[in-house]
């Protein structure tokens, strides 16, 4: 670290010393804390519970080791900094270390809060007790078993439907919704963005207004409509119903996105002899990939976790979707389902969604038509 001796005014020097006091205090505290951690870690390892249950001894030993390691690292870091301070009497080293570590501490706390529910549900899914509820807070419950996962994969529902069928149906519906939303939404958004035609303003307004209508009440009319077309009890009908809620957002998002793309590129293409459609296909579409990714994600997630319409429309067990079964595992009348099974099902159901999410993650920020964010 290059210590630039800045020429500071007396006022700044005063504030430096106030902050400096904090930094010195912090350093001292950190050194004490690290010593304490090392001692704690040694204690935890030494005074192990007599029980030979691996699932409680292993975390304790691991925890002790982590405490010792963390204590040692902090000790080394701060003693080095303290030595630097005692040599040069410049509090800035201390302050930088303090600030950096405060930021880390903050991030670690946030991380803990983010991971707490995830770890909890993982832990519950490994719980071997059949019908009962967890009584303690352990990451790996005593007697952990993958039994719940096995049951979820082999017999998820009292109705005759296998897990693979559920997975397939969910994937079909979600992917179908995503594809429809992207295809239809992008073309419509392009027209709204690039063309000026009678009814444009009303149409745009209509799409936006529809975005704001609460989804609950469309159940009855959708039911009647899809029954009339004969698609109601099929997954296709369900995908169509989901698309109807996903489309307004898709169009709104894509329009904003296409708006931000400069017209010069298409203009250049058209001068070169491309038709409008070709301009759309060859120039706009590749550039619109982030927006389409976001739209696809939105449609996928809508189709992946919806169950109200699904339970109302579908009656044939081989067509059921994952969230329907998940819904049947909680609530008043599902006393027979252990929380382990519910947790296992939640995790299994979340994995594909999270995977798709991570896959499309890099497009997320640029794909949201938030003005000012550069792609």
């Amino acid at each position: 670290m290059a210590h630039i001796q800045a020429h500071t005014s007396p006022a700044r020097r005063a504030s430096v010393s106030a902050g400096g006091v904090m930094a010195i205090g912090w350093t001292a505290l950190a050194i004490l804390l690290s010593l304490g951690l090392v001692v704690l870690g040694l204690y935890v390892i030494a005074v192990r519970p007599a029980a030979s249950d691996a699932t409680s001894a292993v975390p304790k030993v691991a925890g002790g080791l982590v405490a010792i390691a963390a204590g040692a690292i902090i000790l080394v870091r701060y003693s080095r900094v303290a030595r630097a301070y005692s040599r040069e009497r410049d509090v800035r080293v201390l302050r930088e270390t303090m600030n950096a570590d405060l930021v880390q501490a903050f991030l670690l706390i946030v991380l803990a809060s983010v991971l707490f529910p995830v770890l909890w549900i993982l832990s519950m899914s490994l719980d071997p007790r059949d019908f009962s509820r967890p009584t303690g807070l352990t990451i790996i419950p005593p007697g952990a078993t993958l039994d719940a996962y096995a049951r979820v994969l082999t017999n998820p529902s009292p109705n005759p439907v296998t897990f693979l069928q559920l997975l397939r149906n969910s994937l079909l519906v979600a992917a179908g919704t995503a594809a429809l939303a992207v295809a239809v939404g992008t073309t419509a958004a392009y027209a709204f963005s690039r063309f000026n035609f009678p009814g444009r303003r009303i149409g745009m307004l209509g799409f936006v207004l529809v975005l704001m209508i609460p989804p609950g009440g469309t159940l009855a009319p959708l039911f009647v409509l899809l029954t009339a077309v004969g698609l109601r009890t099929s997954l296709v009908g369900l995908a169509i119903a989901y698309t109807s809620t996903a489309l307004p957002f898709a169009i709104w998002n894509m329009k904003g996105f296409i708006d931000a793309l400069p017209f010069d590129l298409e203009e250049a293409a058209m001068i070169d002899g491309c038709s409008r459609t070709q301009g759309f296909l060859r120039v706009i579409l590749p550039l619109a990939v982030p927006g389409m990714a976001v739209t696809a994600l939105w449609g996928f997630l809508t189709g992946w976790s919806e169950f109200i319409l699904a339970w109302t429309f579908l009656s044939d067990p081989p067509t059921f979707t994952l969230p329907m079964v998940l819904r049947g595992m909680v609530g008043q009348y599902a006393a027979g389902t252990s929380w382990a099974m519910f947790s296992a099902m939640s995790i299994v159901m979340s994995i594909p969604a999270v995977m798709v999410f991570f896959f499309l993650q890099r497009y997320l920020v640029s794909g949201l038509a938030a003005g000012g964010v550069k792609g």
Partner: protein, 330 residues
């Protein structure tokens, strides 16, 4: 970005070609329009019609419902014969819910994004990928898990409190004694409000963090260097440079956040179910109950229309506010 009022498009074709282009435009629109006409507009028109009738479950089959004019709307606003129903209180709660949530989302998101933007921060990539998890989990799952965690006897939160030696039998979701009680303006907040607030903040802030992260990348480095030369402190850099520069991105994101939180069905429905004695009921969950439990389609449609009007007003207001500040940073 102006969602409601279209701005003039770059590169407009001359008037002579307008009609031809119009035909092509209609073609592009056609698939979307056809599909939406059937599956989005038709149900809405149907709903609008239902709102003026006494449509109930039996009308799906037996007889044609009767036209009742504005009676449903009056009943929705005045009082329906279901327990704990008060439109005013639900509306106030919904508004408070929305703004408290969005405020916390944006604040936490920006703080974390700024922290993660620090140069050479150890663990930056790890943090970034892990922090996405609450956003990536389906909200159905998150809602159910948090409901599970707030359970009085076996929930993770109470168990954690017990481990820490604190009283660990807090009835998060059942306690009816309000924490904040101002019935005059309809503000009654029980403990379960805070429970579901924490749950929703948990799953909502990563979205704001991502937007802020993206916006932070576009802030030119020179600004910070200039500030350093001028002797700016960390705080001042945050207030005077960072926040104003990410505002053009955060404002639309906040608007999206407001709309999504206002209608956040999954979290409320699964974590509190409307809360003890309907105290954490928001408009959309109440509307859903009207359909699912009572089967009062007509009344529910009137309810939905009113909610839509409210949301439209809120959108217009926030639109005005955001556009009023746009030229400032153009």
């Amino acid at each position: 970005m102006a969602a409601v009022t279209p701005t003039p498009q770059p590169g407009k074709i001359e008037v002579g070609k307008a009609l031809w282009e119009g035909r092509l435009a209609y073609l592009y629109i056609l698939p979307a329009f056809l599909i939406m006409a059937f599956i989005t507009f038709y149900p809405i028109v149907y709903q609008v019609w239902m709102a003026f009738t006494n449509f109930e479950l039996r009308h799906l089959r037996l007889q044609n419902p009767e036209f009742v004019g504005f009676e449903n709307f009056v009943r929705v606003l005045g009082g329906l014969p279901i327990p704990n129903y008060s439109f005013g209180r639900i509306l106030v709660f919904n508004t408070v819910w929305t703004f408290v949530n969005v405020f916390l989302h944006v604040t936490l998101g920006i703080l974390v994004a700024v922290a993660l933007n620090i140069k050479n921060l150890p663990g930056k990539r790890l943090y970034r990928s892990l922090f996405i998890i609450p956003w990536a989990l389906p909200s159905l799952v998150s809602g159910m898990v948090w409901n599970n965690m707030w359970h009085e006897r076996f929930g993770a939160v109470n168990l954690l409190l017990q481990e820490l030696g604190l009283p660990g039998n807090i009835r998060w979701l059942q306690e009816t004694q309000p924490v904040i009680n101002i019935p005059q303006i309809g503000l009654v907040l029980p403990l379960s409000f805070f429970a579901v607030l924490i749950a929703n903040v948990w799953l909502g802030w990563p979205f704001m963090m991502s937007i802020a992260t993206g916006a932070l990348q576009s802030i030119p480095e020179e600004l910070y260097e200039a500030a350093l030369v001028d002797g700016a402190s960390g705080w001042q850099k945050l207030w005077r440079i960072t926040l104003p520069m990410i505002r053009p991105a955060m404002v639309p994101a906040t608007m999206i956040g407001i709309m999504m939180t206002f209608n956040q069905f999954n979290v409320i429905y699964f974590v509190t179910g409307g809360g003890p004695l309907g105290l954490t009921q928001i408009l959309v969950t109440q509307g859903f109950n009207l359909v699912n439990q009572q089967g009062w389609y007509g009344v529910a449609s009137a309810f939905n229309l009113i909610v839509f009007l409210i949301l439209a007003v809120i959108t217009l207001i926030t639109n005005r506010i955001s556009r009023a500040t746009e030229p400032y940073y153009a």
